[in-house]
Symmetry: C2
Amino acid sequence: MDLVTFDEFKKLDLRIGKVISVENHPQADKLYIIKIDVGTEVKQSVAGLKPYFTPEQLINKTVAVVANLQPAMLRGMESQVMMLAASAGSEVVLLTPEKPIPAGSKIS
Amino acid sequence: MDLVTFDEFKKLDLRIGKVISVENHPQADKLYIIKIDVGTEVKQSVAGLKPYFTPEQLINKTVAVVANLQPAMLRGMESQVMMLAASAGSEVVLLTPEKPIPAGSKIS
């Protein structure tokens, strides 16, 4: 991949979010509608995590999110924020802070 | 902050790295020289983590890194990769995968 400058990296609003609700997407088998407290407000994520996590495994979890992505419509639902996860083969693993830290905490 | 597009986000090579060594920076009190296995190779990070972590707290840890930042010289030592950490007040917390996953695993 090409190199990115530190200024390009800094454009991203990476921060800690807390999952506050998880619902099935009404029109897509693999998607959840996830509400995430990002500190300043609650934002919605449409995420393809249903094959990997139950709602109970996600709720109340603190996760790393990209909070300033341009909103996108996914099967008719707006996604405003993206949870970061690592993947290897068929495995998907969330990125979480090693110790508790408040929602809204900046990541850099 | 301004919104970023998904294409801008995708320029970043975010992945899982494993810390393999931690040494004091020879010319800076607060900086460590950290060698990180990013899957394809071992890269060096110059990071201001010394006030927050002992070397023992970092070694063998799997962390989230930006693997394609333009290298920068920090007090005469080259930093090629950046570990992601969340901060709140005077607290700094690393971002780690919730479950073990190999170094080099892509984050998205």
